[in-house]
Symmetry: C2
Subunit: 152 residues, 2 copies
DNA sequence: CGATGGTTGTTCAGATTTGAACGGCAACTC
DNA sequence: GAGTTGCCGTTCAAATCTGAACAACCATCG
């Protein structure tokens, strides 16, 4: 029977600002990617993760955890990217259950073309507006929450 | 022909932490609300906004801006909430085009019942893990971005 | 008043997400 | 090595979101 602990004014302001801003920024990014490259944000993030992975390939499950998507959502999006020739599927040599998503040269090329415009948005609306101190504090805060959510 | 400005390591870490954490937290909140009240997060946010509004009512457009949803998504969700008896629709007295979404007593009651559990999650994973300084910095950062996105 | 342009909310088709159920394979035990 | 348990990715139906098109209404101006 713990007492409900409401958020005080400062805490609530922080939470509402975070919630609203993350949605607004998501919307802006989606708009930019769709206009520039015909990609959704989840699709772009898949390409980014693959590009950064050794051999430009990742197991579906790892990829899903990386981009924070459900297994079925990832299956769907990798299917779209495969149709577009940006990603290929290979069966995992070590584990016949597994599937490796592999970035194709065309995928890598598209990513290189699109990334600058995407990062420009991230800069324009978020990074460039923050002081070094705010940047540091935000990273620290986000990592604490991420760690807590990943472990649960 | 501006040179592409990549993010340095610190900046990229901040962005990735923000992106990942906002998705993880969203997922956790969705899970909690669905299990506790059968509500989606967007639906919960609609109830919150209405509860805080004068007369517990808001124009559809204002509501859509408040919760950061598209017009059609709001139409859909208000429809669900109306079916559940948590919200009612009234034509706006001032403007025959307008529709007022009004929180019903049942909606207010459900919100009071659900809010503590929801806020407990927000505390557990975000607010309570942040120092006062981090909280302040995050609010400041989010507000700058929000202002920039709202004005554009 | 009548015309024009902008706003409001809904509708619709198509795209995407969700979560449960499933078949196939791996790992471990006895 | 047969049995059991669990993981892997996909499939499916249902729910939700998106963006364009639309009808109804407001506001302004001549």
């Amino acid at each position: 029977m713990t007492q409900p602990r409401w958020l005080d004014q400062t805490e609530m302001a922080a939470w509402r600002a975070f919630l609203t801003t993350s949605h607004l920024l998501e919307r802006r990014i989606e708009e930019q990617l769709k206009a520039t490259a015909g990609l959704t944000h989840p699709q772009y993030e898949i390409l980014v993760r693959l590009a950064a992975a050794p051999g430009r390939r990742l197991r579906m499950t790892e990829l899903a955890e990386g981009v924070v998507a459900s297994k079925s959502a990832l299956t769907y999006q990798v299917g779209r990217l495969e149709e577009a020739g940006l990603v290929e599927r290979t069966t995992c040599p070590d584990d016949d259950r597994g599937v490796l998503a592999v970035l194709t040269p065309a995928g890598a090329e598209l990513l290189e073309k699109v990334a600058p415009g995407h990062l420009e948005i991230v800069r324009e609306y978020l990074i460039d507006r923050l002081s070094r101190e705010e940047l540091r504090a935000m990273t620290s805060a986000m990592r604490k929450t991420e760690a807590a959510l990943r472990s649960g």
